[in-house]
Symmetry: C2
Subunit: 573 residues, 2 copies
């Protein structure tokens, strides 16, 4: 299904063939409809008229910017290395070392220098990539060269389904989402979200008394039946709120659950959004981290795991295959302009870059620009200087290579964590859980060990199976393993329930503290509850822990999982 | 009066002696009262516990940040140069060249290198000034080293009058002000502003149907009598709005009028704010640009102007004198914690740094932190890396030296513009205008020239005085000359009025376009009207143009003012 939406290098649709976005101005809230342009910023166009002597803008003199030049040593992206690296040992042994795929993918040359000169010219040129420009006041639109790079990237990679889409820079997806909330939502509205969602996104709407409406998800994202049912049965009288008009979703490597929506689901959700006039906000920080599934040890051959991270061909076909594997963006389905896509450089370059962008219809991007002018004035010029120079140095092809390296790195790290779960627990595959019933889970049990007591269900296969401890679905993207904790395996489960307390709060919090006291820090699942305090019906016996595989070195991850398995086994003893 | 509030190096009040801020929580709006902390950010403290193995935060791996190091060539601030530079010619002649005071003040050594290494350590250390930290996710509070630098700076320079003040970083004063509006104001409120105010500030409240209430100003800022009268006579029934609870003011080098409030006025306004329970938001981008007044040519001696820019002594006494001349911040008077001060690096370092900070009571800084987390996540790490390294390299003393250089540079530029007005027009001093009647204006007339017609009022003194053209007050701070245009000197003035049109709109716009067509760009005063469309009673015959002296090189400024004088003379012919 996905392939039919996939990137094709040669055949990007001519904009002429695509429909224009429809009028969605009724979605703008009162504040946004009332916002006028920054009148001073309106002078910028005159300021750059040739030969104009400007006494207009209150621009500081670049001569007294204390930076004469800036430079950076960057990793080069000239070409993929021809040969795979030495990381091809027996991955069933614990010989995996902290090793970056980047140096492998991009050859031996360690770094390259980029530099941003001062280049003060008397006439302020907003298109120059120099410090006199980038340290100066500038448009909230972002630097023209960076914006053009992004526009070209969106056109080639996401191929929106409507003609008049635009891009608009912001200072990262968290800020971008806050701007979208500020543009579309009224106090007291309701919003559609995944039942577990990113807390940073909640912060934007929670203070506005906006009711989050949980949509059921499984490992492949939103369930269209549940989505339809919520909207079809919405009773404005009973709810005291308008039917939700906005969906916030993280389709790829969802935070915290790690699930990924593929084309078929997206098409269904998109069609429902057309039916119910819902704006889709897709927040896609992990989009390029989508990779092949984890292969358990039993199915692995020596060196196989590495080859699975990328096909490594540095040619057009290799690029095509990379794109073909990516799930299509919601933009791809969007023939009305009702999708706002949030992209960020946080995961592909660095979070400190605080740079991202909106892709949306021109009404929305213009209103978002006005909102950004007021909220941030413009993105940071020093950050823009470095990121713009980096992108111009790498070029489009180089950045695509870089994304392949990023993907390979996180796929490797995902495998580290799943491999470590496999080596610290006994795993049973194809299990059913009362949550996410559409998909199959892997359930972890205590391994038998000499001198340990307890009943052994299957002595031959070597595990004590009367107590499922935790379950997980190996993610295809993102940075997290979402660990389901079988709270009903705890001796106090019934006691806590009988006391009228929520085991998910009491027992999971206890486990979290146990882990932290043993120096392993994870995030309890209730942090991500879209509707905090409201139990997940039918799955009250399951708690969750989010484990990040993105950051820890391999030896620390190994140590952490070994501690975790001991703490969990003891917890359930 | 000011001296009693001035900075004293040794005697900063012990915090113990100062009162704590009073409870101002009733000023928080509904949204702010409803805002909870970012729960994920709450994990940061655990993440840095010694020996903690963290699988918690979704932190990207710093190994795949593509920047290995960053560096910059900066202007050094080691010591003030011993000798004045060569810029000591006869300033009555047009020999002034574009020349920075910076190289003069800071000696000959052209630049120094600062660099930010990668320094990836397995444990994420938020206090390290390295790329692994500053390119990573971080707290919205800002980098600890930068925050500490700022805290120390505020304590030494502004000496707040209450004990429990705090600083909190933001991404510049425009963003900071937006956050303050989002914290304090409800839709439909009213706000106290100077009758001409910064349009960027209007953008934050205008979409919320917040009514700006103009307070009369003269060259020394807000008029306490008018301020008192507005609040004393506020009729909630008639206005349909609560009495204003927030004052937005730019006390030093006000944008656009260039006026500066000194201690006496500030004390009066502060006391009124206590009386009427008003929060004072002082936005001080031009604070350190406050300098001695302009000296007209007649009063100047060769080389005098230069010495006036700074006393140039690079010792404790020189620093004390620099501070003694600065007007005290509203913070200095604040014994209740009702002042929120906005500072920015935009004018002292560079606008592209997009870094500034709040100084306020701890209730407000905590709520502002929560707001920033949602609105921006955190300030840009690349920008913070560079600014933090710069400040650590310069140190407090170096930054104070730098501020003296900035002040001297803009004072010189202010003199360029006033000198050029003096040489292109005939000036009459001590004039009264129907606006800002408390202060004396300088009024410009056409100079007599051979072959020019028209009646000459005072042939001996050489000017045609029947038509005052423009008037101005030489500013002591800021970046602007606020030029009052005598619209009633225009032949169509009565005709336009008789048609029921606003001369300020019709004639001033005509003059603005005339100037732009002759390649001189200025900003028409109505852009800054706090209550647009509402005529300034008693001064309908005065329009304004804002002329920036901050940016243009001297030769361009000269060219622009010569063109301007010709266009204005022709306009009024």
């Amino acid at each position: 299904m996905d392939a039919s939406y996939a990137f094709a290098d040669s055949g990007s649709a001519r904009k002429d063939d695509l429909p224009e976005s429809i009028d969605l101005s009724h979605h703008l809230n009162l504040t946004t409809r009332s916002r006028t342009a920054n009148s001073l910023k309106g002078l910028y166009k005159y300021m750059n008229a040739p030969g104009m002597l400007s006494l207009a803008g209150g621009l500081p003199n670049p001569e007294i910017f204390p930076f004469e030049s800036m430079s950076a040593e960057i990793l080069p992206c000239d070409a993929l290395a021809k040969k795979p690296p030495t990381l091809t040992g027996d991955i069933s042994k614990d010989t995996v070392k902290e090793q970056s795929f980047i140096s492998w993918l991009f050859g031996k040359k360690p770094t390259k220098t980029i530099s941003v000169p001062k280049s003060h010219t008397p006439v302020h040129d907003p298109a120059a990539v120099d410090l006199s420009t980038l340290l100066q006041y500038s448009s909230a639109e972002g630097h023209p060269a960076l914006k053009e790079f992004i526009r070209n990237f969106v056109e080639k990679v996401y191929r929106p389904g409507f003609a008049d889409w635009q891009v608009q820079l912001n200072v990262g997806a968290t800020a971008g989402w806050s701007q979208v909330v500020a543009m579309l939502m009224e106090r007291g509205d309701a919003i559609l979200v995944e039942e577990f969602t990113y807390p940073g996104a909640m912060n934007a709407y929670q203070p506005l008394d906006i009711k989050p409406v949980s949509v059921k998800i499984d490992g492949e994202g939103l369930l269209p039946e549940d989505f339809d049912s919520i909207l079809a049965n919405w009773d404005e009288q009973k709810e005291g709120r308008r039917r939700p008009r906005v969906l916030y979703t993280v389709p790829t490597g969802q935070n915290p659950t790690g699930g990924t929506m593929l084309a078929e689901r997206k098409q269904k959700i998109y069609d429902l959004c057309v039916k119910y006039d819902v704006i889709i906000v897709e927040d896609e920080p992990y989009y390029f981290l989508y990779s092949d599934p984890w292969v358990p040890r039993a199915g692995k051959q020596s060196g196989q795991a590495l080859r699975a991270y990328d096909n490594f061909k540095d040619d057009k076909k290799g690029v095509e295959e990379f794109f073909k594997k990516l799930p299509p963006s919601y933009l791809r389905f969007d023939y009305q302009g009702r999708v706002i896509r949030l992209d960020t450089f946080s995961k592909t370059i660095a979070p400190g870059s605080r740079l991202g962008w909106f892709t949306a219809n021109p009404l929305f991007t213009e209103r978002l620009l006005r909102g950004c002018e007021s909220a941030i004035s413009s993105p940071n010029g020093i950050g823009q200087a470095m990121i713009t120079k980096l992108m111009l140095e790498w070029g489009y092809d180089g950045y695509i290579r870089w994304l392949r390296g990023i993907k390979a790195t996180y796929a490797m790290r995902r495998d580290w964590m799943c491999d470590l779960l496999e080596s610290t627990f006994h795993l049973e595959f194809n299990q059913s859980l009362p949550v996410s019933q559409h998909i199959k889970w892997i359930t972890a049990y205590e391994k038998t060990a000499p001198g340990m007591g307890g009943a052994v269900l299957d002595e031959k296969r070597g595990y004590k199976a009367q107590k499922p401890l935790v379950s997980f679905v190996p993610p295809s993207a993102g940075m997290f393993v979402w660990l389901a904790v079988h709270l009903d395996s705890h001796k106090d489960f019934e006691k806590v329930k009988a006391r009228g307390e929520d085991p998910n709060r009491v027992l999971l919090e206890k486990l979290f503290i146990e882990l932290a006291e043993h120096k392993v820090l994870v995030v309890p699942g209730f942090f991500f509850d879209a509707q905090p305090g409201q139990p997940h019906k039918g799955s009250e016996n399951i708690g969750f822990l989010r484990l990040a595989f993105s950051f820890a070195p391999h030896d620390e991850m190994k140590q952490a999982l070994e501690i975790m398995s001991r703490v969990i086994i003891k917890f359930f003893a």
